[in-house]
């Protein structure tokens, strides 16, 4: 018999109970437990859903931002070309007037007005938006296609500038109350025949003209289109239907911040965040400003990502519910399997327990005693140890059985079993071999004095009266003792010798204990017991 079997016996001796059985049936790996497994799966899936959504949203935002920046750059290019062309046309008109003026000088026909002739030949821009006028050397308007909203330009920088040299000069915006509109004056110098300053030619343009290319489909309500002088003064600026003229901004800073790429910029003039492109015009002291409002450009993607986030949320909820349901089902299944297993284990254990124990007293039965005895012999042999056996038989038990009945007999046996268990050490094993036969196995024990003490304790314990069916009953016991190794080296010999010793005790008057070693030679002969 090996150690494992011993352990299994030890365990079998315990009372079987279900909680312990469940403990032993618990799955070995933590992740195999559905209570942990499914939350982990659920969280992993949730993380996957949100990671995917986040990546999608992020890429959509990046796409929208890049698209807005690209669109801004493109629109700036178009706007720049339009403004440059419009300015060239204005300058061309001024050069026509210069040319016509010089022609008139050549013909020495200065009294005749020259503008109607130009208009007649379709050389002047549309009257609707452009006013052409001419001043004398004092700055007084002497000829005009319509009222430019100003009669005298003396002292204005774009007039005085022409005194020095011919240049394409651009005024700051001027409000014309009669027309309820803002205009910008463009001018060039007119030379007298001797090359001296004779006056200027002016083309007055509705400032709104320069931002009339505003397309709502491209720029939205919050975009911006503007034409800004290098002096930092907006000639015109438009956002949606709102126009502004003559605002001053930090030109250098704006150009520096937005010249190369259409970057996000909080526009100083209205505080709106826009993808802003600023382009300085070649050959003119102007820059164009184009902006797409971030809020408008990202509105679509914001809407769609909001939908995606809700979808992800919905998918997460549905997935979690699904996982929860599956987890619950799986857990219940496993729990019922565990319960079944526990039940089977408990049953097997009870069967085993019953196979090795006496049902009446709960003591070890003969089978278990035999196994323990063989085990003790092996252990003692291997380890050079000793042990002893106490064989007991109640004296005149049959008499009690016959007079008080079987129930009283059974009760007496149970009481005796209890007293025996109390009288021995906890390491000793008390077994009932059947009928009124008991045995005590005392490991590591062959000392005569000790054995005498135990035996005396047993005799005293049993001798105390029992209360059986209302009667005080006194019973005694006879004990035979054999010890390993000197009374025998195997189970049979030791059992037989203990039995012989007990038989001798009976013979000598009962209520006694006898050591096999002390038996007279006649007593050591095996006779029927």
């Amino acid at each position: 018999m090996n150690v494992n079997e011993s352990v299994s016996i030890e365990r079998a001796e315990r009372k079987p109970d279900v909680p312990e059985a469940r403990m032993h049936a618990r799955p070995s790996h933590l992740l195999a437990d559905p209570r942990l497994q499914f939350p982990v799966i659920g969280l992993a899936l949730l993380a996957l859903i949100w990671l995917g959504t986040w990546m999608l949203v992020d890429s959509e935002y990046r796409g929208a931002r890049a698209a807005a920046a690209t669109a801004t750059t493109k629109l700036a290019g178009i706007y720049e070309a339009q403004v440059v062309r419009a300015l060239r046309e204005v300058d061309l008109t001024l050069r026509f007037v210069q040319h016509a003026y010089e022609d008139g000088l050549a013909r020495a026909d200065t009294s005749e007005p020259m503008l109607p002739a130009l208009a007649e030949r379709n050389l002047l821009p549309p009257d609707l938006l452009f006013v052409v006028s001419i001043t004398d050397d004092e700055g007084r308007i002497v000829e005009r296609t319509r009222s430019p909203g100003i009669d005298d330009v003396a002292g204005l920088p774009w007039f005085d500038g022409q005194r020095i040299a011919d240049d394409f000069l651009i005024s700051t915006p001027q409000f014309i109350p009669q027309a309820d509109s803002w205009v910008v004056h463009f001018s060039r110098r007119l030379d007298a025949a001797d090359g001296s300053f004779a006056g200027i030619a002016i083309v007055t343009v509705d400032a709104a003209f320069f931002v009339s290319g505003y397309e709502f489909s491209d720029l939205g309500m919050q975009g911006v289109l503007g034409i800004l002088g290098s002096d930092g003064v907006f000639r015109a600026r438009r956002s949606g239907d709102a126009m502004a003229y003559g605002e001053t901004v930090d030109y250098e800073a704006l150009v520096a911040a937005n010249a190369d790429t259409a970057d996000i910029d909080v526009n100083a003039w209205d505080g709106v965040t826009r993808y802003t492109a600023v382009r300085e015009l070649f050959g003119f002291p102007l820059a164009v400003v184009v902006g797409l409002a971030e809020a408008e450009q990202l509105a679509t993607v914001k809407q769609s990502t909001r939908t995606q986030l809700w979808q992800a949320f919905g998918a997460g909820v549905v997935m979690l519910l699904g996982v929860a349901v599956f987890g619950r089902m799986s857990w219940e299944l496993q729990r019922s399997r565990i319960a079944l297993l526990a039940h089977q284990v408990a049953y097997a254990r009870r069967v085993e327990y019953e196979a090795y124990h006496d049902t009446l007293t709960g003591l070890a039965n003969r089978s278990l005693f035999n196994r323990l005895l063989s085990h003790s012999v092996q252990q003692a042999k291997r380890n050079q140890r000793s042990f002893s056996l106490l064989f007991m038989d109640l004296d005149r038990f049959k008499l009690i059985n016959d007079t008080l009945g079987h129930d009283a007999g059974d009760e007496l046996l149970r009481d005796v079993a209890k007293r025996l268990s109390v009288a021995v050490r906890s390491s000793d094993t008390v077994a009932r071999l059947g009928g009124d036969e008991f045995v005590v196995l005392l490991p590591e024990q062959n000392d005569v004095e000790q054995l005498t003490a135990v035996s005396t304790r047993i005799l005293d314990a049993v001798r105390e009266p029992f209360l059986l069916a209302g009667n005080d009953v006194t019973i005694t016991v006879s004990i035979g003792i054999s010890s390993y190794p000197h009374d025998g080296l195997d189970e049979q010999t030791l059992t037989k010798n203990a039995d012989l010793a007990m038989y001798q005790a009976k013979k000598e008057g009962r209520n006694l204990f006898r050591f096999y070693a002390d038996l007279p030679p006649s007593g050591k002969q095996a006779t029927a017991s």
Partner: protein, 138 residues
């Protein structure tokens, strides 16, 4: 009572049509190949959205002076646009390089002269200036 109310309304209507500024009509030269154009087609030609005539050839719209009542009336009636809206319209077309406004002449007599000079020209004027040299597009 009822009759007097009807009379009152009739009188008011008569007053309204009489009292309104003169009726402006679109016209072409009597020599023109054009005999009929829908109001929408006329509006499109004057807004620069259409240049080709149904019978071939390029339409030449003739405007009256910017501050003339005929001009305001014509655009409100045919294009549903106020002078300010028309200015914005042409401002945008000129700026973006997609068109030039119609040639502008001084008055009804100048319109007649322009129409006589160009067979594809279309103008507008007060109905009372219509004579046998013109065909009214109705």
């Amino acid at each position: 009572m009822k009759i007097s109310l009807v009379l009152l309304i009739a009188w008011l209507m008569a007053l309204n049509s009489d009292g309104a500024s003169a009726e402006v009509v679109a016209v072409v030269s009597a020599q023109s190949t054009i005999t009929a154009l829908s109001p929408t087609e006329i509006a499109d030609i004057f807004l620069g959205k259409r240049a080709r005539l149904p019978g071939g050839g390029t339409a030449v719209p003739i405007d009256q002076a910017e501050d003339s009542p005929e001009r305001e009336e014509f655009y409100v009636r045919y294009a549903g646009r106020t002078p300010v809206e028309m200015k914005m319209h042409w401002s945008k077309l000129i700026f973006t390089g997609r068109g030039q406004p119609p040639r502008q002449v001084r008055d009804a007599e100048a319109v007649k002269a322009a129409l006589a000079a160009q067979p594809n020209a279309i103008g507008y004027l007060d109905r009372r200036y219509v004579d046998e040299s013109l065909t009214v597009l109705e």
